[in-house]
């Protein structure tokens, strides 16, 4: 049983009541001590600024040292180039140092690129000039400092990279996932609507109120009638009666309007959800194709590796392990085959078309006035939906391109002629005619299951069955939801009959069950 609003409120309440945690006194004191320490340090720095404590200053000092060494190296290299000598040691030393210096320079250049603004080279140069006199030539120190600088610089660059690009990218990816979850949720929302919960509840609430009002009015009218019978203040009472009648009419109109609004709401959601479903599936299909393409490449590579293994004299066990790995990979690829998804997409498209036709018929049956009103409301809702999408895109410009790309995929798909093979339509018996339940025989169903387009081929049957089983349980649940108002024995028959139906049949039964359910509701 799904949780309703009051349960949701209950959970919200629990979340709000979650306990607050107190920082331990010891840790609090530690923090305060640290803050005091920092305060003292800052105050001291403000009086006698000592930039040597600043991490950048350390870096600059290092740079100054390195710059000094550069001068020595260039000088040394120049000397050794000019004065040929058989001694190679100084050149080697110079080579090692040059490497350090090059690394340091590259790192600094990167740092300079990464940190814009104040920390430009001119600033560094200034720092070098300031510290030049105090630099002592100590080879080990120079080497250590250089390495330290490289490490620090790289760490700085990495952390910069992490806190900017990666964050944004992570967020972007999260948002894409969420966007897709949105689409799925629309579908979930639709199933709820189909179950008649959302709309029916709204309408029912409106009806309850208006019926109460109506009862109150009827009672008043009855009293008025009695008063008239008694001949009390006849004229005044008659006027009151007319007023009551008018009110009653108004209430009835309100009820009609509420019902109509509820239906419109449902229509809108149905239409959009069906579209969202197709869109979602198309994107999923495209992604799977890419994934399979990639996996195919991996498989090819693995085949080459395998032959290499054999050439290299691998043991049987090793080869069998490798083959097992390949088989797993192959199964994974096949289980996600876009061919299956392709069928689902086509089916979803068919559903979409059917829903659109249904909506069209319903729309045509409206009066001119109602048509105008319907269009206006639909426009409003579309705008609201668009607004939400735009808002998302605006707040995440980096995602925009990805969305555009996905849209292109959708468009490309939409332009493609329908490639679906004409599926064998198995006529399903009238599942439920009013209370008479008539479903296909179990044997017949099993027979037709074999006729369903063959999706086995090279596919991993177990994986496929697992997915189908999940879909089946969802649909069976929905069917059961829609027959709850039938007598228990009828429900039992239906439940028994649908138990072994294949997925496509189940969907057809669901459509019938929903149609009959609606019909019953309307008649009621």
């Amino acid at each position: 049983m799904s949780m309703k609003n009051n349960e949701l409120k209950h959970i919200e309440g629990l979340l709000r009541k979650s306990p607050q945690f107190h920082l331990s006194k010891k840790q609090d004191e530690k923090i305060l001590k640290a803050l005091d320490g920092l305060h003292v340090l800052k105050a001291r720095n403000q009086v006698t600024p000592d930039r040597s404590f600043h991490p950048f200053m350390l870096l600059f000092k290092g740079f100054a040292t390195v710059a000094f060494v550069v001068a020595i190296f260039f000088g040394t290299q120049y000397y050794f180039n000019k004065v040929p000598t058989e001694t190679t040691a100084p050149a080697q030393v110079a080579g090692t140092y040059s490497e350090h210096i090059r690394n340091a320079r590259v790192a600094l250049a990167k740092l300079e690129m990464a940190i814009t603004g104040e920390t430009s080279f001119s600033f560094i140069a200034m720092a070098v000039a300031e510290n030049e006199d105090s630099i002592e030539v100590d080879e080990n120190l120079i080497s250590d400092l250089t390495e330290e600088m490289v490490e620090e610089t790289q760490a700085a660059i990495e952390s910069l990279g992490e806190t900017t690009e990666t964050d944004t990218l992570d967020e972007a990816l999260d948002e894409i996932d969420e966007l897709q979850t949105d689409e799925i949720e629309v579908l979930v929302g639709v199933s709820e609507v189909i179950e008649g919960e959302t709309v029916a509840e709204t309408v029912a609430a409106a009806l309850d109120t208006t019926i109460e009002q109506q009862e109150a009015i009827s009672e008043s009218i009855y009293e008025v009638d009695r008063a008239i019978e008694k001949g009390e203040k006849k004229t005044v009472i008659q006027i009151k009666k007319v007023n009551f009648e008018n009110k009653r009419k108004l209430v009835q109109e309100n009820i009609k309007k509420a019902v109509l609004d509820g239906k419109r709401e449902k229509d809108f959601i149905l239409e959009h959800a069906a579209e969202a479903k197709v869109r979602h599936l198309v994107i999923k299909e495209k992604r799977l194709q890419n994934k399979i393409l990639h996996a195919g490449q991996v498989l090819n590579k693995s085949t080459e590796d395998l032959s290499d293994l054999v050439k290299q004299g691998a043991t049987e066990e090793e080869i069998s392990d490798f083959e097992e790995h390949m088989n797993r990979l192959r199964s994974a690829v096949e289980a996600d085959s876009p061919e299956i998804l392709g069928d689902v997409v086509r089916e979803a498209r068919k559903e979409l078309e059917a829903k659109k036709m249904e909506l069209k018929h319903r729309f045509e049956s409206l009066s001119e006035e109602e048509k105008v009103e319907f269009k206006e409301k639909a426009e409003e809702k579309k705008e609201a939906y668009q607004e939400r999408v735009e808002e998302f895109k605006e707040s995440h410009p980096e995602v925009k391109e990805i969305i555009i790309e996905e849209k292109a995929v959708i468009k490309e798909e939409a332009l493609k002629p329908e490639q679906a093979p004409i599926q064998k339509e198995v006529p399903i018996k009238e599942v439920m005619i009013e209370a008479d339940v008539e479903l296909p025989d179990k044997d017949e169903v099993l027979k037709t299951e074999e006729d369903v387009p063959n999706v086995e081929g090279e596919l991993n049957r177990l994986e496929l069955e697992k997915r189908i089983a999940e879909d089946r349980s969802v649909i069976i649940h929905k069917i059961i939801e829609h027959i709850r108002d039938l007598p228990p024995e009828k429900q039992a028959i239906i439940k028994a009959r649908i138990k072994d139906l294949p997925l496509d049949k189940l969907k057809m039964v669901l459509a019938e069950v929903i149609a009959n359910y609606r019909k019953r509701m309307e008649e009621e």
Binding site: M1, S2, M3, E7, L8, I11, E12, L14, L15, R16, K17, S18, P19, Q20, F21, H22, L23, S24, Q27, D28, K30, I31, L32, A34, L35, L38, H39, K42, S159, E162, T163, D167, D174, E178, T181, D182, E185, R388, E391, F392, E394, S395
Partner: protein
């Protein structure tokens, strides 16, 4: 240059409980790490206090933004060494549900909430904790997460739905009559 030690301490006193609660929840009640990170965040805020501009938002939002970024860096660096509730129970850091059964009904419910929270993604947890536990408004969360208020509303409602599903999956008989 803006630097007022006393002012910072006043701000710190105001937010310390909420900030610690936030960190503790986000770190699955690993109090030791939460305390460490609390120290880091407060020191970082103190060192950058001159950059804080009250015209651009409250101190609370500012320090929560720092905390949020710091958490991300922390996880990135330590490959998210988070303990599950089961592990926490084993270590005795978090009371077990069994133990809770002996307590009041409210405590039991609370333990269930924790469990359901555990099953959510970090971003979902983040937003639920901020709104329901830290009592931050949509606009405050939007400011901290640098997003639009509308986006936060949507995200929160989605997170709550997921939370509801997790809760329902963990305790299917909870509301069945």
């Amino acid at each position: 240059m803006r630097h007022n030690h006393r002012e910072f301490l006043e701000f710190y006193e105001e937010i310390k409980q909420k900030l610690f609660t936030f960190l503790n929840y986000r770190l699955n009640f690993n109090t030791v790490i939460a305390e460490d990170l609390m120290m880091d965040v407060v020191v970082k805020a103190y060192e950058n206090f001159e950059k804080y501009n009250p015209d651009r938002g409250s101190f609370k939002n500012w320090i929560f933004t720092i905390a949020n970024n710091h958490l991300k860096n922390h996880w990135r660096g330590l490959k998210k060494e988070m303990l599950s509730l089961d592990e926490l129970e084993e270590k005795g850091i978090f009371p077990s549900v069994q133990a809770d059964l002996r307590k009041t009904h409210n405590d039991i419910d609370q333990a269930k909430v924790y469990r359901a929270l555990e099953g959510l993604s970090e971003s979902e947890k983040e937003i639920i904790i901020m709104h329901y536990i830290n009592d931050l408004s949509y606009s405050e969360i939007a400011e901290i997460m640098k997003k639009r208020e509308g986006a936060i509303r949507t995200q929160l409602s989605r997170a709550l739905k997921r939370f509801r599903k997790k809760y329902e999956a963990l305790y299917p008989n909870e509301y069945e009559k």
